[in-house]
């Protein structure tokens, strides 16, 4: 087992190398180049400023060098083993160092800082959304299988299909228009993650002279309701269907018939025997959770004015922000590979028939 894990870990290196080389080549071939971005972000920048900025970046980051050289330079920067780069541009000694993801030329900030700003927000949203989607889908999947072709099955199936068909961009605008507008119902806030001035509120609800104040925590949750709903509702359809077919298959399996023949009640058969076995296909899907935690939804984030990973990535691609795109691809790639490895190991642990040696 240990040798298998080591082999897999070593195999990740060429894969990551391939991913980064591919992305780098695509970004390098994309028209527009890095220099052009310097103006697009800040519409008011005057030509002489742009020229000065270009010269500065060329000198500092070697952007005027040929692409292969730039790629090697970038590889050196992100690898934990290599030449140190000194502030101001020079090259230091060879050895272990802190990997440097580089600086976004569009946003003029280190990529690590950009990710550091966006990641907690996306994690918060996804840590609420993913369990909700899984819990809801599993419950609905089991019941639709249990009452196959009954009213519940048809009802839930239709409702899920309908929800799945509604685009989030439309749903979001409708929710804001009807549930967050003074003209209709002002139940929820329209944007952001906190009310203005909530920074100085107490953490838990408190009673003030003007009545109840929700407190920081409740305020945050209140702001999260609409975005989380928008992220959740369309996710049920796929997982419910997956659970349903898996449960159905197991309900007809020999062991389920044996269990029924033993005289077990139908609910004992379902929950104690069939349910466990039906969860295996969900495990494969769960492999995507780890990288999925990092990936935000650009649509929901834009509608509710939340600065998460989704907007960061999409804006970076639109603006040809090479360093940001490369870094995020690399991190997501790393996590995807890691989660595949974890799932493979889990299979071996869960199923004694699977062996990798």
């Amino acid at each position: 087992m240990a040798s298998y894990i080591i082999r897999r870990l070593l195999l990740m290196l060429p894969t990551l190398f391939g991913i980064s080389a591919l992305v780098f080549a695509v970004m390098a071939m994309a028209p527009g180049g890095i220099g052009a971005n310097l103006m697009s972000r800040s519409g008011d920048m005057r030509p002489e400023e742009r020229q000065a900025m270009m010269a500065y970046y060329n000198e500092r980051y070697g952007l005027d060098q040929p692409m292969p050289v730039q790629y090697l330079r970038w590889l050196n920067n992100i690898s934990p083993l290599g030449f140190e780069s000194l502030p101001g541009g020079g090259r230091g000694e060879f050895g272990l160092k802190v990997p440097d993801l580089g600086t976004s030329f569009v946003k003029n900030r280190p990529v690590l800082d950009l990710i550091g700003d966006a990641l907690p927000v996306t994690l918060l949203l996804n840590l609420l959304t993913i369990p909700l989607v899984f819990a809801g889908s599993i419950i609905m999947g089991v019941y639709t299988a249990r009452f196959r072709d009954g009213a519940i099955d048809v009802g839930i199936g239709t409702a899920n299909l309908a929800l799945w068909s509604i685009p989030a961009i439309w749903m979001g605008v409708l929710l804001i228009g009807f549930l967050a507008s003074e003209q209709y119902l002002k139940w929820f806030p329209t944007s952001g993650l906190s009310t203005l001035g909530s920074g100085s509120w107490t953490f838990l609800p408190e009673r003030t002279a003007d009545g109840w104040r929700p407190g920081y925590l409740l305020d945050l949750l209140w702001h999260l309701v609409l975005p989380v709903f928008c992220l959740t509702y369309s996710g049920f359809a796929f997982l419910t269907k997956l659970t349903r077919s898996s449960v159905l298959e197991n309900l007809q399996a020999d062991y389920a018939r044996t269990a029924r023949a033993k005289g077990l009640s139908e609910s004992a058969v379902l929950w104690q025997h069939v349910f466990r076995n039906s969860l295996l296909p969900l495990m494969t899907v769960a492999a995507t959770i780890l990288p999925g935690l990092l990936i935000g939804s650009v649509i929901v984030e834009s509608i509710f004015s939340i600065d998460g990973m989704g907007r960061l990535v999409v804006e970076a691609v639109q603006m040809r922000d090479r360093e940001t795109v490369l870094s995020i691809t690399l991190i997501t790639g790393l996590l995807t590979l890691a989660s595949y490895l974890v799932v493979d190991i889990c299979y071996a642990l869960a199923d004694p028939r699977v062996s990798y040696d």
């Binding site: 994309a30 028209p31 527009g32 180049g33 052009a36 971005n37 103006m39 697009s40 972000r41 800040s42 519409g43 008011d44 920048m45 005057r46 030509p47 002489e48 400023e49 742009r50 020229q51 000065a52 900025m53 270009m54 010269a55 500065y56 502030p87 101001g88 946003k107 003029n108 900030r109 280190p110 800082d113 700003d117 966006a118 605008v173 804001i176 228009g177 967050a180 507008s181 003074e182 003209q183 002002k186 329209t190 944007s191 952001g192 203005l196 920074g199 100085s200 953490f203 920081y216 925590l217 466990r276 984030e301 834009s302 509608i303 509710f304 004015s305 600065d307 907007r311 639109q318 603006m319």
Partner: protein, 619 residues
């Protein structure tokens, strides 16, 4: 696998999860307390310093300056504060309440000199002061941090006397040394501000001498007073430590929220702002100016979605809303909304213009547009009034040159060419373009049909409608227009490589526009903005003369003759200047149209003239 997973295990896992979440919440809570403690500490420090200062003054027996004399000075039209003083004298004037605005995306950093977006400069206008300001009506220079200023005979040195009593928001005095430091800071190679250096490099040195500071130039430049007068003054005692070493400079280059100054507002924490959160400025209680700021807070929320932005404005959660023409007209019909907001349509004296640029040289060869008659014909074919009426619903003005009609550079004697397809056809025929085969499309002498592509930014809906209208107009004269919507990065590349026939864009503008980088023939290489390869030696000479002419009247005369040459040559077809369409909550009083646009706070780096009467205050 002896033991099976039971309900008790599930409960245990949930219980553990709950404990973890509580621990995490507790950490968040303690973090918030730290922020609060830090702010309190900063406030306390400031107050301690104030008390010490008052003690010292009491001990030294410093008399309190005669307030009446100061009052008189403030209402004097020669002072930067007189408009605010007039507002303050009104009966219902009151301090308090918040002004809440929205940005469509977060500024990337607020740190002065290294920030690049317009949003950051909107915030900095309220926090950093400059030596001079402009009168929003007459557009004349007025003193702000400078008590007075003078220019030497040869135009090479600018002398400012710093106003006594000017202070930063922590109570430290603002001196001439801080002005000299700001220049030194910008010119330091370790600081990542090449764009500021591109301007301030014109200034040879800045020296402080007592309460005087002198900017010296090597050669005269007409914009020197503006460059010097609008330098945002940074505090040496706050920013000085970032020049001490390369590491410290690097720390500055990566800082997102190092914003500290002497302006009417300040950040509660001048060090730790990070992008993504709303920008919240609080009143600078130690503001040095005669008129204190009126709002307690000036806030910019970050609202990226336009529907959400409008909903918040309708809910009364934000106070200002900038609309597009169609949206503006629809909102005017909303009576419930109109009863509690005011609306303004105005031309900004710093507003830019939209144009079509005709490329005169492509792949090293002159194009059809190298012929002046063709360009003039295209202008005659462009029905600008219809563009204004149909694309911008009338909320724009037609343009005939690069200068704002509100400013003195504009040559009012020049008439805008009207729509005249017959004249256009005649001019094209004169230039050798005629419909030789009767298919309705004109051809050049060697039989090539007159087909041009018009590149425009694909993201904008206004441009799309504009280009479709032009396509219809041009085809009546036998000109085939092929719209070419293009992404920003690609569009800029097309400009750099000059691989386009015609391009439609907008330039932003200022009170006084320097034509050098747009139309001087030396600027058609890489980096310059004369991307149409326009070359007129006479115009070059006029531009060069204007740039070194320090006498304002003589210079304006030169600019006006440059305007006429451009009007003759039509290197661009100037289209229009879009109006700004603003809605502002009606509880805000004293919102006024001025020659420069709207008297919005921050525009002139002086305390806001806007206020909210006590009865209407909301926050």
């Amino acid at each position: 696998m002896g033991k099976r997973f039971s309900a008790r295990d599930l409960l245990l896992i949930l219980f553990l999860g709950a404990i973890l979440v509580s621990v995490w919440l507790a950490m968040v809570q303690i973090d918030r307390q730290w922020v609060f403690i830090r702010e309190t500490q900063q406030k306390l420090d400031g107050q301690t310093r104030d008390i010490a200062e008052i003690r010292r003054q009491l001990r030294d027996g410093v008399a309190v300056a005669g307030r009446s004399a100061q009052d008189a000075a403030a209402t004097d039209p020669g002072s930067g504060f007189y408009r605010a003083a007039l507002a303050e004298a009104r009966d219902d004037y009151a301090r308090g309440d918040w002004l809440v605005n929205a940005f469509p995306s977060s500024p990337q950093r607020l740190t002065p000199t290294i920030s690049t977006d317009t949003y950051a400069s909107r915030v900095q206008e309220q926090v950093l002061d400059t030596l001079l300001t402009r009168d929003p009506e007459s557009l004349e220079w007025l003193p702000l941090l400078a008590a007075s200023w003078s220019v030497s005979e040869d135009g090479l040195s600018y002398r400012f006397r710093i106003r006594p009593g000017a202070r930063f928001s922590d109570g430290e005095p603002l001196t001439a040394a801080d002005v000299a430091f700001t220049y030194r800071f910008i010119m330091d190679e370790r600081i990542a501000t090449p764009r500021f250096r591109a301007y301030y490099g014109r200034i040879a040195e800045v020296t402080a001498n007592g309460d005087e500071v002198v900017f010296r130039l090597d050669e005269p430049y007409y914009g020197a007073l503006e460059i010097a007068g609008l330098l945002p003054i940074m505090a040496e005692h706050f920013y000085g430590r970032y020049l001490q070493s390369a590491e410290a400079a690097e720390e500055f280059n990566n800082a997102t929220g190092l914003l500290f100054g002497s302006g009417p507002y300040k950040l509660a924490d001048p060090v730790n702002w990070t992008p993504g959160q709303a920008v919240e400025l609080i009143r600078n209680e130690r503001y040095w100016g005669r008129v204190q700021p009126s709002f307690d807070r000036v806030i910019w929320k970050i609202i990226s979605n336009d529907a959400a932005n409008l909903t918040e404005f309708k809910n009364g959660d934000i106070d200002t809303y900038n609309a597009r023409p169609l949206n503006y007209r629809n909102l005017l019909a909303d009576e419930a909304l109109m009863s509690r907001v005011r609306h303004f349509e105005y031309q900004d004296a710093r507003g830019g213009y939209t144009f079509i640029a005709w490329n005169q040289r492509r792949d090293g060869k002159p194009t059809w547009f190298a012929d002046r008659r063709v360009r003039e014909a295209m202008t005659y074919l462009t029905d600008r009034q219809r563009v204004v009426d149909e694309v911008f619903l009338g909320y724009a003005e037609t343009a005939n040159g690069p200068f704002n009609p509100l400013g003195p550079q504009n040559n009012v004697a020049l008439a805008t060419r009207g729509y005249d397809p017959d004249r256009a056809r005649a001019l094209l025929a004169e230039a050798g373009f005629e419909d030789r085969d009767g298919d309705g499309v004109i051809e050049s002498a060697d039989g090539e049909p007159f087909r041009i592509s018009l590149t425009y930014p694909s993201a904008s809906d206004d441009y799309k409608r504009l280009v479709l209208l032009l396509k219809d107009l041009y085809v009546t004269a036998g000109v085939i227009l092929e719209p070419e919507p293009t992404d920003w990065p690609l569009l800029l590349k097309a400009i750099d490589d000059k691989t386009f026939d015609a391009i439609s864009l907008g330039w932003s503008s200022d009170f006084e526009v320097d034509l050098f980088q747009f139309f001087h023939s030396s600027q058609n290489g890489p980096g310059g903005d004369n991307f149409v390869s326009y070359d007129n030696p006479e115009l070059d000479a006029v531009i060069e003369a204007a740039r070194v002419q320090l006498d304002e009247n003589a210079r304006m005369a030169l600019w006006r003759s440059a305007h006429e040459m451009i009007w003759q040559d039509q290197p661009y077809t100037f289209l229009l200047r879009a109006s700004r369409l603003d809605f502002i909550d009606a509880r805000i009083a004293n919102v006024e149209r001025v020659r420069a646009g709207l008297n919005r706070p921050g525009l002139w780096r002086m305390p806001t003239e806007w206020y909210v009467p006590v009865a209407l205050q909301r926050h």
